[in-house]
Every structure is written in C-alpha cells, then in structure tokens.
Amino acid sequence: MWIRPENQPPVEMFQLLDESGQLHGEMPNLTDEQLLDMYQWMVFARTYDERAIRLQRQGRIGTYAPFSGQEAAQVASAYALEKTDWVFPSYRELPVVWVHGMPLKQSLLYTMGSVQGGAVPEGVHSFPVQIIIAAQTLHAMGSAWASQYLGDGSVSVAYLGDGATSQGDFHEAMNFASVFKLPAIFFVQNNQWAISVPRNRQAASRTLAQKAVAYDIPGIQVDGNDILGVYSVMQEAVQHARSGSGPVLIEAVTYRHGPHTTSDDPTRYRTPDDVQVWMERDPITRFARFLTDRGLLDDAKDAAIRESAAAKIADAVDAAEAEAKGSLVEIFDLVYAPTPPHLEKQQAEVSQVLAAKAQMAAGAAGGAMGGVGATGATGATGATGATGVTGGPGAAPTSQPAPGNGAAPQAAPHGTPTQSGPQGKGE
C-alpha cells in the first residue's frame, strides 16, 4: 500500500495578522511610514473600485472588473518588488500596477477605450493588461529568461487567478521556469470564483500552492487578506528568485467581494451569506485595527486618508475625461513599424470617410449642405466603378481633416504621469 495520507503534500496556510488584527509571528521589516503607506494604497484602491463601478453605471467607462477584497494580496505583493522588477497583470490587478508605478489616469484611459489606453509609460516595468487567462504566465517566464540571460537581477511576477491555474499555459510556464531555474514568481490570487465556477471546480487539489511540488519549486499558501503575511512571503520569494535559486509559486487565499465584471450578476451563483463570511475577513478593516492598536491610525487620520484618496481619484478622472480618446485613423500605425502599404491605403480610406462624416455633421449643424447626403461618403466615388471607399479620385472633394479625427491634437505623452496614488513605496 503506497497510497497513504502522508504521501500527500502538506497544506498549511501562512498568516501573520489574524482576522481581528492580532499579530502572530515575526513582524516583517517595514517602517511605520511604510505601514501607513501600504494602508493608504489599500484605501486608495478600494475607493477607486467603488468609484469605478459608479462611473461604469453612468456610462463614463466601459466594462470593469472590480477587485474589492483583494487589496492586501495586490498591494503587499507589489510592495515587495523593486521598480526594476517586472509585473504581468491580468485585468483584475490594477492596484498591483499602480503600486508599481502605473499612473491611475492610464488605467482610466484603458477602461474608457482610448486608443492610447494600453500604453505603458516609459520606465514602468509592467506588461499591458492581459485578457486571455494565463497567457501572461508565459510572458513572465520569457521575461525572467531574458533577465537571466542579461544578468540584470530583476524578477518577473506573473499575476493570475485560481481559474488560470487550470490552463495549460500555467503548467508550461511553471515547467519552463523550473527547468531553466528562472527568476519568476507565480502569484495566484485564489479569490474563490472564476466568474460563476467555484475554486473546487477548478482543481481537486486541496491547495493551489501544492502544484509547486510537481516542479520541485517552493510553493506556499498564504492568507491573502493579511497584508503583512503576504508581504512577508513575497519578500522571501523575491529574494529567492533574485538570488538565482529559481521560481516560486504563491497562492494568496482571498475573495472577490463583487461581481466578475460590471456585466456579471453574482447572485445567480452565490448567496449573500457566502459573501458575508468574507466581508468579515476584510483586509482593510483588519489592517486598520492593527495600525490603530499600534497607535499609527485614528479616526481623524483615517478620514484624512480617505479624503485624500477620493480627491486624487477625482483629479485622475477629470484628467482622463479631458483627454482626447483618439481617432480610428491612428490605429493603423499601431500594427507594424513602419506601416505597410495595405494599411496606409485603409488608413487613407478612413480619413476620407471621417472627413465626409464631419462635413455632413457640419452641414447638419449649419442647416443645408447641398448634395452631400447620407450616402455622400461613398456615393461621390460612384463614377470610378469599384467600391466607393477605394475609388480614389472624386471621393470626398474637400478632404479637410475633421476636428476630433485625424487632425485631433496628439494626446499628451503618457510618460509624464500627473496622477498617481499615495506616495511611492518609501525607499
């Protein structure tokens, strides 16, 4: 008989702060200033998340994936990194990229559907937001391979969810990272739900951390709502990876308070009681208790932190809303460098169509606009036979660049972040 309980990997969850905010174990090496900074980041994140849902309901941003409940896992793991390390976020990891240097305004432009929304500002070591589940784990592995090749000492962190551990890419990334001993960290936020499918439907293994055993790399499960616990395990993982000892898998056990996205209705698959259990484990409340007990936080200070977060967010929303969102004309130059002839041709068609559209709009505003009717854009080229838009001569007689289209003022360079959250990590 070789199948015995002791042959199964051990399952233990690491925790420093319990649900009442009591510290058990060794305090990580963080100054009071850093502790407060981490708290400010969490409050900032939660405040934004709530604001974003309202913005979506008002039609001011697009579909949004809220992260409330996961602030400790995200803020603490990013806080343990150097700015020269690399992060590979999915769509629910905004606090990670903010702590790592991404301006909030950029995240807003992304969700507002700006042509420039996915831009990564110079010097911010983050990949663009990944939509395909677990695809970024391979990019983090490739980046870690590049770091090893270049000997630059940086660590690459793949952020993923419990659902992503079911994907083949997750296995392939862990396997390559292990075989090549790459400086990669796989940081799983097990938030219990992949849209409507619960954690126990993703994997029959008792923990996700134990998947590390198969690759012979360190793996740990940590209370993801314990900001000090997450910071502590992440810090050690970063040291391990940076020192050339290979990859690490971390499973942060947490919870998604809200829907999968603003298009999801979680009442179809879980009860308010289910949620309530986790609201009582809220990472922010827990950390606030700890800080209060240490004399670092009181009601007045907390109110000031919340007020400051709301003000910064309001400024970022104003700035993002004031910015031009770009024209269809611009996208053709974002496919290849340089833009090849077939895309230049389609780009020219778009310029003509948009110019004609603007002319019509101007005509409608001015009352009468002679012959340019609803079909003006294509009708004008009728004589050339083929489809109007490829017609060339005769199309859109006065192709003045239209305001708000091709000639729109170039968006301000994104390398000059004007909005960021609380101060950067105090180093």
């Binding site: 990949f127 002839p341 895309l343």
Partner: protein, 327 residues
Amino acid sequence: MAMMNIIEAINDALKMEMARDERVIVFGEDVGRAGGVFRATDGLQAAFGERRVVDTPLAESAIIGAAVGMAARGLRPVAEIQFLGFIYEAMDQLASQAARMRFRSAGTVTLPMVVRAPYGGGVRTPELHSDSLEGIFLHSPGLKVVMPSNPYDAKGLLLAAIRDPDPVLYFEPMKLYRYRKDEVPEGDYTVEIGKANVVVEGTDLTLITWGPTVPLSVGVAQKFAAEHGVSIEVIDLRTIVPLDVETILASVSKTGRALIVHEAVKGGGVGAEISALISEQALFSLEAPVLRVAGYDTPYPVGAVEDDWLPNATRIAGAIQEIMSYA
C-alpha cells in the same frame, strides 16, 4: 559566393546573426544538441553555447510565449516550431499575443521575434507534418509572414526577419531544403520583407506562387513557352504579409490573366485574397477569370494520395489552358 542549399543558407544566416548580435538567442525542440530535426541549427550550440542555443521542454505555446516575453525585454529570440502543423498548439501566443502586443500597448511594447517552422507536402510525413498554414496568419494582423523558395532568399529573408522590429513567421519549404544548391553570398545581405520577385518574365499570363510550388511553376511555365508559345510571368511572392500588391497588379495589368498556385487548402486562403485584390483593383485588365490551383478543402491527406492532392504539373497546365481558352 558559396554554393548552398536552403538548409545551409538558414544555418549560415543564424550563425552570422548570432555572431553579429549578442541579443539573438535560438531555442525550440531539439535545436541544440541534435541541431534540429532537419539540421537547420546544426553546429550552433557548439559555436555559441547552451546559453544561446537552447533545447526547451516540449511545449509549443511556451516556446512562443517565452519569445514574446524575451522580445519585449530587448532580446531577439529566434524560436523554432518543429513542424508548422504543430503551431496550432501556440495559436493563442501567436495570434492573440505576439500579433497584438504593439497594438495593445499603443506602440510601447514591441516584439522583434522570429518563429521558424518547416511545412509543405510531398515527403510522406505522418499527419500534421505537411500542412501549409500561412492563410491563418494572413488573417492575424500584426504578424509578418515570409516564405522563401530558394537559398538566396532563405538567407536574406531570415536576416531581414531577425532584424525586423515586429514578429515575423519564417516558413521553410521542407521539400526544397536540399532540392538544389545555388550561389549565396557569404557576407551580410537582406532580402526586403514585403517585396515579391518576378522570377520569369512573360506577357500572356501571370502565375503567382510561393514556397515549394515556385520551382514547379517555373518548370510548367518554361514548358508552356516552348510547347505552346504561351508567355507566362511567374511571381515568387516571398512575403505573404505584407503582400506586394503593387507587383501583382502591375503584372496582371500587363498580362490580363492570373493564376495562383499554392499548397495550402483553397478556401479562404491567400489565393482567395490575391484574387479578390485583382478583382477590386484590376478587373478591367482581365481577359479571363482568375483561377487557383491549390490543396483541396480537406485535411492534408495520407501519403498514398498526397501527390494528386497537391498542385502538380498536370493541374497547373490544365488551369493555364482553361485561362488561355478565353480568347
């Protein structure tokens, strides 16, 4: 000049670029110790070490995903997929990731990476070793696709691909690897991506093809000229994305007739795209319908019947006769 076949030309290009540029790293299944199943990377690991010529675990998605991560960090990865038919395993990393990173990041993250893969039929392989899949990637904006047909282009296009700022798929015609040796410059040169090559000039009919069907088509064209006095212009596309539309249209405007020959399945393929471009932009030059000789719309077949499935001299000659019958 040296005499090289396609495999030797590829090997020469890799060696040259690895020596010139420390950022170039070659990896894939069996590329290191074994030098590749076709020996394309033979001797590279001995010359450049295991750090730069790397045997990976057997996982296509990870091979391409790793290249994405590396290229974004400033390296110049040259990844090999052992046979093009295996690339479906990596479709997300190619079509959703490599192809879109420049676009997704509004031009801030770019991927100078190359994916090499052999393809093409007529060599009695097991299933999924012979498929020509370029059409899939024509339909995936953000990727470039080059398909050399001779040793000179093989070297020049590979050097151009490695130096290109965007992901380039470099597909190698398996059947032509050792087909013949040509003169190839020993030094550095590139063949421009996006430029077709008129390999035979003619006035009556334009035959557009690429990869393994180029020598076949040239043979048929020469035979037709000799036996029927039909002057056929043969264009070797060399690059599938971006297509050299200008060269195609100039030729068709001159000849008034067009035939497209490719090994990939017919429906929704590169031939269909070329035919559509001709009808959109050169319809009134045409004297006859544009025809395609291609693989049939079935999975690539077994060895006993593959020679009849592939474009061959008989099928090409039949299509030429049909086109020329519109007097």
